[in-house]
């Protein structure tokens, strides 16, 4: 190479820098272009995801609304089930009440058949005479009184078959057993209860209009439930609580105010045990093969559900 074509080191150095600069520009231009494409792609993705997110949120809101509606529907259907259950129990009580009257009559007829037996007639007359005059016994001399009482004991002993027949438990029906539901409720919870209500499937008039005749099955059941609740409360140390009787849906509600009282036991268990005893021992219920079960429900289910 001739000396005229030779380039100075200065030019060469500058040329190299110029070449490097062009390479760098090309490189960063390419990077910039890639980044722009990536940003555009990401913005597009975000737009699609945002749209998808909005769709999902709308779906979520819809599900929540459906969930709330479903809870409302469940509560509504529960209230309907309670009404149907109470009506059914009330009807069962009506039919089993007729049965109870029949069972009482069967026992009475058995006793009256024994009463009719000729061998007892003389002693029955003596027994009746004693019943009519026993209040005047005190006016008689001691020796007379003792003799009469001794004779009465003999008469009573001879009439023992009649008394045994009268004291027999009510005969059991051959109808199939039936079980009625009783609703109990604690407000607000079992840990620190403020109030308890027990709803019986009997008309409220049993409380407001007590009669003075033979007790119906409705009355027997009510008296026994009132007794069972009283005994259950005493067993957990609640001796000074106020028991009130109210009307709910036409039925009798036994309400106990517990606010601030100390409970020495589980109120649910205590009630359960007393009702179990009632079920197992009450002659009238056994006679007509009537059982019962207590179901504990949220107190909100016992209102009419119109106020959220």
């Amino acid at each position: 190479m001739s000396a005229s074509t030779e380039r100075s080191d200065l030019v060469n150095q500058l040329k190299q820098v110029q070449d490097w600069g062009q390479q760098q520009a090309s490189h960063w231009e390419k990077k910039q272009s890639e980044l722009t494409r990536t940003i555009q792609q990401t913005e597009s993705d975000i737009s699609q995801l945002t749209k998808r997110l909005e769709e999902l949120r709308a779906q979520q809101t819809d599900f929540e609304q459906q969930g709330q509606k479903r809870e409302g529907d469940i509560a509504k259907r529960m209230r309907q089930a309670i009404s149907v259950g109470l009506e059914s129990a009330a009807q069962t009580l009506d039919t089993r009440n007729l049965l109870l009257q029949k069972q009482r009559k069967i026992r009475q007829n058995r006793v009256e058949n024994v009463l009719m037996e000729p061998k007892f007639q003389e002693r029955i007359a003596e027994f009746r005479q004693f019943q009519q005059t026993k209040e005047q016994l005190d006016q008689l001399p001691m020796s007379y009184r003792q003799a009469i009482l001794q004779h009465h004991q003999t008469v009573r002993k001879e009439l023992e078959p009649i008394f045994m027949a009268a004291e027999q438990p009510l005969p059991k029906t051959d109808k199939s057993p039936k079980c009625i539901g009783i609703i109990a409720s604690i407000d607000p919870d079992f840990v620190q209860p403020e109030a308890m209500a027990v709803l019986l499937p009997v008309p409220f008039s049993i409380y407001t209009e007590p009669n003075s005749g033979e007790d119906s099955l409705h009355q027997v059941l009510t008296f026994r439930c009132v007794g069972a609740i009283t005994a259950a409360l005493r067993k957990i140390g609640l001796t000074d609580v106020s028991i009130n009787f109210g009307e709910l849906k036409g039925y009798l509600s036994i309400q106990v105010w517990l606010g601030g009282k100390k409970l020495n036991g589980d109120i649910r268990q205590s009630i359960s045990l007393e009702f179990q005893q009632l079920r197992d021992y009450a002659s009238e219920l056994q006679s007509v093969r009537l059982g019962m079960e207590v179901t504990w429900l949220d107190p909100e289910l016992l209102d009419d559900g119109e106020n959220p």
């Binding site: 009746r128 009268a166 003075s212 009355q219 008296f223 009132v226 069972a228 009283t230």
Partner: protein, 164 residues
């Protein structure tokens, strides 16, 4: 001879009517006795007598009224005051004892009067498992206030509004 001639069994409702008490109160009382309610709810006269005694049933209006007053409501207030003043308050008594023996409007009115006496602290109510019981009230001038009501010379405001 029929069944009922020989055997004197009474339903709980019949027993309650005889004793002039609500049948629920008998159920509550029996449930707290040894053995609880009988296996069959039929009661003999002896059982009914035991219930009456065990529950401490009293008839506060069995004696005829002695006070004379033109106003029948004021008369009942004065007679009740007299009975409260003369009662033995060493133990609480059933609230329904104070009404027992009355009926209809007189019964309802005396219930209102009892509530008035409670407001005036002449009587103190207590809830029990067998029903409401009543004790002597904590009024500082208990005897004086009741005495002035008995002679008709003065009545607390809460009572005056009941008959005026």
């Amino acid at each position: 001879m029929t069944y009922s001639d020989l055997f004197q069994y009474f339903s709980l409702s019949e027993a309650a009517a005889q004793l002039d008490i609500h049948p629920f109160d008998i159920a509550r009382y029996l449930s707290l006795q040894k053995g609880g309610l009988p296996v069959e709810l039929r009661l003999t006269p002896q059982m009914i007598a035991q219930i009456a005694e065990g529950m401490g049933l009293q008839n506060w209006w069995s004696e005829p009224m002695e006070i004379e007053d033109d106003n029948p409501k004021r008369l009942l207030i004065r007679e009740l005051s007299k009975r409260i003043l003369e009662a033995d308050w060493s133990d609480a008594t059933r609230a329904d004892n104070l009404n027992r023996g009355l009926a209809g409007q007189e019964y309802a009115f005396v219930r209102r009067v009892i509530n008035g006496f409670i407001k005036c602290q002449l009587l103190t109510p207590n809830s029990t498992l067998t029903g409401l019981s009543i004790q002597k009230g904590a009024h500082p001038n208990w005897e004086t206030v009741l005495s002035t009501m008995v002679d008709g010379s003065s009545f607390p405001e809460e009572i005056t509004i009941l008959f005026s």
